[in-house]
Symmetry: C2
Subunit: 294 residues, 2 copies
DNA sequence: AGGAGTTACGGGCATCGTAACCATC
DNA sequence: GATGGTTACGATGCCCGTAACTCCT
């Protein structure tokens, strides 16, 4: 069992293909094949089931050893970075998971400062839904990820609060009100955003013991806003996920005011590399001031 | 960075010497030297400070990477055992830490059953004081260890309760009483057992706001008992640490009755090998019945 | 002298790439 | 035939052991 063999196996599972793993790792397919075959003969067990139609399927045993293998790879990275740090120089990569609104609003601020402070550290961004980010964290594909929750829990490092707002077309009957009550939303066709905050929205309606009359379920935020412009319906979204300007669209507070908490998740921070630690620390310090204000 | 290099480094730190590590690993000193040198050139940092008078001293960097390295080695062992298990056969080793009375009274029962159920698994015993066992667990030198505490905590899997008893020479003035009150012990010369339960005894005296008049502090239990026989003093020990028969010695209950809880510690059970898990499960099932009785 | 670790030298093994070889769509 | 994985075969490199060497007590 070599450390490259583990890397290869992990990558093959991640990519679902020998060829793509080879490309990602800058080696020949042959080497990938050798690596997996080597592991399999050493263990005497099949790791991957090569299936023409389904691509690559991880065997039961493969699934069982995948996690410890990824732990090993992470610790190896940790050791290497400790070594670099001991020499006075910094190196390594941070794999950050994020969902669209966090990538757009929170990440740039953090990254720009971080890159100045640590110019030799590479940041790799993985974008997906809230759910995917959590899975990636569990699978140790990323080191740290953004997450949004209705209540700040102990497993999240809070960064900021994000207000939920109602989005209406100009001239809508609800326009005159200063804020919009959540109850009044249910009477109008509702466009549900499926970009990740769907469960939050449902939770909030559930709390007021009502549910929106969902007419459309759309993922892309631009599409949703255009549909609102066309008068096809109204919606409710977190403020952070809106673009800076929203022409021909009204953004109104919802009553009662509802917040979602956006923060960082880093479940294995005690076994994280120094780089990851300082990334988290930086994010925390950058947003600490704001949090007090809001 | 190779596994063998990690193994070698870990062993050298454990042994405090290149030569002894080489012997323990069945390899030449040269190979050990090579392994360490290889790591050091790869990292560009010194791992060990070779000092003629003090032997081997771990460098600051070495201390920092030792723990992640041991984690890696444990996970490698876990993977190997998963592989063996997947083939239907069992293999591997369990490193058990124990203090004298547990080794003598609890361990044999567990081991004898376990060896019948898992004949191909090697059990390596590390004996030491209570304190040492805890250190070894932290340093991942052992997988599971016996521990004794005055109260059962969440970090311990309780196995049995152990009564504290007073030990007197025959013909002692306290003989007539049915049980001995803790307060009456302080008036007589006391032999403190330093085999590990010293802090517990002091805690209990402290609770009754008195302290024994310690005349001797002895480690070996046989020596202590002989000294009691000679009338040099009395002592208080956990019942489990006494031999089966105690000729010419009186064993009396102490009032108020005091217990210590003996159990297993396995702080990293979620990353333990299957063998370790079944060892813990077996121990638990073996002593569960007794616990209900007592 | 002798214990303890380092350095030379050689053998063996395994990993990787090129390239030929299958198998499926 | 194209795609994707497996199998020869040769080369590089490294890991280990024997043995000579150095340093300190």
């Amino acid at each position: 069992m070599t450390w490259t063999q583990l890397t290869v196996f992990s990558k093959v599972v991640e990519m679902g293909s020998f060829t793509r793993a080879a490309e990602a790792l800058h080696m020949s397919q042959s080497a990938v094949s050798h690596a997996i075959a080597g592991l399999e003969t050493e263990f005497g067990v099949l790791l991957l089931i090569r299936d023409r139609r389904q691509g690559i399927v991880v065997s039961d045993f493969g699934r069982r050893v995948l996690e410890p293998m990824r732990v090993i790879l992470n610790r190896v990275a940790q050791i290497e970075q400790e070594a670099a740090a001991a020499q006075g120089l910094e190196a390594g990569t941070i794999r950050v998971g994020s969902f669209p609104s966090a990538s757009a609003r929170l990440l740039p601020k953090i990254v720009s400062v971080f890159e100045k402070q640590h110019p030799h550290i590479t940041i790799v961004l993985f974008e997906g839904t809230d759910q995917e980010v959590i899975e990636w964290l569990q699978d140790r594909i990323i080191d740290v990820g953004f997450a949004a929750q209705s209540t700040p829990g102990p497993d999240m490092i809070p960064l900021t609060k994000d207000k939920m707002v109602a989005v209406l077309p100009k001239g809508h009957v609800l326009e005159e009100n200063d804020g919009v009550s959540i109850g009044s939303l249910v009477d109008h066709p509702f466009i549900m955003s499926t970009g990740g905050c769907e469960p939050l929205i449902e939770e909030w309606f559930g709390r007021s013991q009502c549910s929106p009359s969902i007419k459309f379920a759309v993922r892309d935020m631009d599409t949703i806003l255009n549909m609102v412009r066309e008068g096809l319906g109204i919606t409710m979204v977190p403020e952070l996920s809106l673009p800076d300007t929203t022409p021909h669209i009204l953004v109104k507070n919802v009553q009662p005011t509802m917040w979602r908490y956006v923060g960082l998740r880093c479940p294995f921070i005690n076994e994280a590399t120094p780089a990851v630690r300082s990334f988290v620390a930086l994010a925390q310090s950058l947003f600490h001031a704001e949090q007090v204000v809001s």
